[in-house]
């Protein structure tokens, strides 16, 4: 079945990016067009039917006459797959991006090129999620890296430039690493389509070229998902962005993490060393991200490290490689992206008013902004896995998956990491809202009202409702993710 609307999910944001770039400077037009485009971007994945889309003429070819190698079906075209999993991920990305665009439109000055970069990153991440072609995935990963760096650059501050410099520099290294891995796979098997590679690769696991390719692809995976050696770079990226875009960036990271993990598991799922590397580095990210979050003195940096730590949790669950692990990992990525976005957006409100998020300049804001404090505590409880909220369901399932696949110590460390995240975020909440800061003089006291802008309030309320909704009724959602995970792992 050739599903006709699938390319629109990539093409429409790209066109919008160009139009917004042209509109730059015309404030009103940028606002209206940005909002309208986001509504369309949410609507497209809802309307699209499930299926595959082939870009190119040939859908199938017979065996090669010269060599006689027989591969079941070769799609000599770039293939995009769209099913329940892709729909969920694309919609979540679109929703969080809509919040970022709405919040930006509510500000005094709406920048066209800024929104254009957001659109570009939406297009790139949607393509990464849907592509069933390993080279196409690589191209859009690079585009995503460039557009994310560009979003940071628009902040215009030296620390943002430094973050973008590091990000693009190691983005280049990781991109080349992925490309060389792809080149090795292409040279060995002659195909780029992931399904074909999966079929061609049966029984080839001990080939040293394939092993090198796995290692190189893993390095790329680590960079794109911000795990251990790259965790400082990623957290620096989140913390130097404006917090509302920080929400979008961390959502994109988690979605890309899921997408690449799925590809790795589909291709090399039977290979235990890869699982060991994924587990080990995710574990280090989980704990060290949490510890770094605990010792920060700036709320934005604290939340950035907490987000990285949660990405480590997702990576750990995907690294287990079992059906329970993969489905719990996808579920947790979705839940955590939503709950973390809630915290990021509350911090945006704080940053918007106070123009700073350093703990030394905040304190005692509970009486001035009780609504904000209430929403933020909901976000903190949701991220830390407290029962009525969504992350509880997924964290419980991750621990369960770790125990049932024979890694009880990993389950214990996951519990430790969860506690660490909770303590770190509560520290931030305490220092911002509860503790009276005696060192602030009356002149420096922050002007803070309880009034939250309408667009921001809408975003926060929607996120709270979704968090509680998934937390109370997880099964209709989780069951379908579980089915998708069964298909991913089932090949092995």
């Amino acid at each position: 079945m050739n599903s006709e609307l699938i390319p629109l999910m990539v093409v429409f944001p790209l066109i919008s990016a160009i139009i917004l770039n042209v509109l730059h400077g015309k404030d009103k037009a940028v606002r209206y067009y940005g909002t309208l485009a986001m509504l369309v971007i949410i609507a497209i994945p809802l309307l699209t039917v499930y299926g595959n889309h082939l870009f190119g003429a040939h859908s199938e070819i017979s065996t090669s006459p010269q060599t006689g190698i027989q591969i079941p079906v070769i799609d000599l075209a770039i293939e995009y797959t769209f099913s329940f999993l892709q729909r969920v991920l694309v919609i979540i990305l679109a929703v969080i991006a809509t919040f970022a665009v709405l919040i930006h439109s509510g500000e005094k000055k709406a920048s066209g090129s800024y929104l254009s970069m957001i659109m570009l990153s939406i297009a790139a991440v949607s393509a990464v999620v849907m592509a069933n072609d390993i080279f196409n995935m690589f191209v859009f990963l690079e585009i995503a890296a460039i557009s994310q760096a560009a979003i940071i650059i628009t902040m215009g501050r030296p620390d943002a430039y430094k973050a973008a410099f590091k990000y693009l520099m190691y983005g280049g290294v990781a991109g080349a690493s992925i490309l060389i891995g792809i080149a090795l796979l292409l040279g060995t098997f002659g195909v780029l389509n992931i399904t074909d590679l999966h079929n061609a690769m049966a029984g080839q696991m001990s080939n040293p070229i394939v092993l090198t390719a796995i290692g190189l692809l893993l390095i790329g995976w680590l960079f794109e998902s911000g795990l251990f050696p790259f965790h400082t770079i990623k957290s620096n990226l989140y913390s130097s962005a404006k917090p509302d875009v920080g929400a979008l960036l961390q959502t994109e990271t988690k979605i890309v993490l899921i997408a690449i993990s799925i590809v790795l598991i589909r291709l090399f799922g039977g290979f235990s060393n890869m699982s060991a590397v994924m587990l080990g580095l995710s574990l280090i990210t989980l704990v060290f991200g949490g510890i770094m979050a605990l010792v920060q003195k700036d709320f934005r940096r604290l939340v950035a490290f907490a987000a990285v730590s949660q990405a480590g949790l997702v990576g750990l669950s995907m690294g287990l490689g079992t059906e329970a692990g993969v489905s719990a990992g996808i579920f947790h990525a979705v839940n955590d992206a939503l709950a973390m976005s809630l915290i990021f957006i509350t911090i945006y409100v704080l940053y918007d008013r106070a123009k700073t998020t350093e703990f030394s300049k905040l304190g005692g804001l509970l009486t001035k902004a009780p609504t904000l404090a209430f929403l933020q505590i909901i976000g903190i409880l949701a991220v830390s896995g407290i029962p009525p909220f969504n992350a509880y369901q997924s964290e419980y399932r991750i621990i369960d998956a770790a125990f049932s696949s024979g890694y009880p110590e990993l389950g214990v460390i996951v519990i430790l990491g969860t506690i660490l995240t909770f303590v770190a975020l509560m520290k931030g909440f305490y220092l911002t809202f509860l503790k009276e800061n005696v060192t602030i003089t009356a002149k420096d006291r922050i002007f803070m009202t309880n009034k939250i802008p309408r667009a921001t309030m809408l975003a926060l309320v929607i996120l709270v409702i979704v968090c509680i909704g998934i937390g109370v009724y997880p099964s209709p959602f989780y069951d379908r993710i579980s089915d998708a995970a069964m298909l991913i792992v089932g090949g092995w």
């Binding site: 965790h231 060393n273 590397v277 704990v287 060290f288 949490g290 010792v295 110590e409 460390i413 430790l416």
Partner: protein, 102 residues
Amino acid sequence: MDKLYDFLSEKLKSLGPVHVGSGISAEYMLLAFFPLAFVALVRGLENVTVSVLAILVTAMVAFSAPLVLKVARENSDHYNVASFYIAIAMGLILMIMIGGLY
């Protein structure tokens, strides 16, 4: 435990750009994490050996406290620190992939 707390809070106060409370909780977390990670790493060995080694690791971490400042320094935003760990991780991953885990 009390003595450890006093010792740590003294050290952290004298040394660091870190809140004392969060520094101490991070320190305890490290104390719990290193033995567990070690057990996860050497899970192929038999039980008695692993438990003895785990106790040794715990003692090592406890005696080298406070580690949290070192951890914070090694995870700073400096370009060269990131480079160092990235180079090590890249080499390690390729070695594990091609050479195997044990």
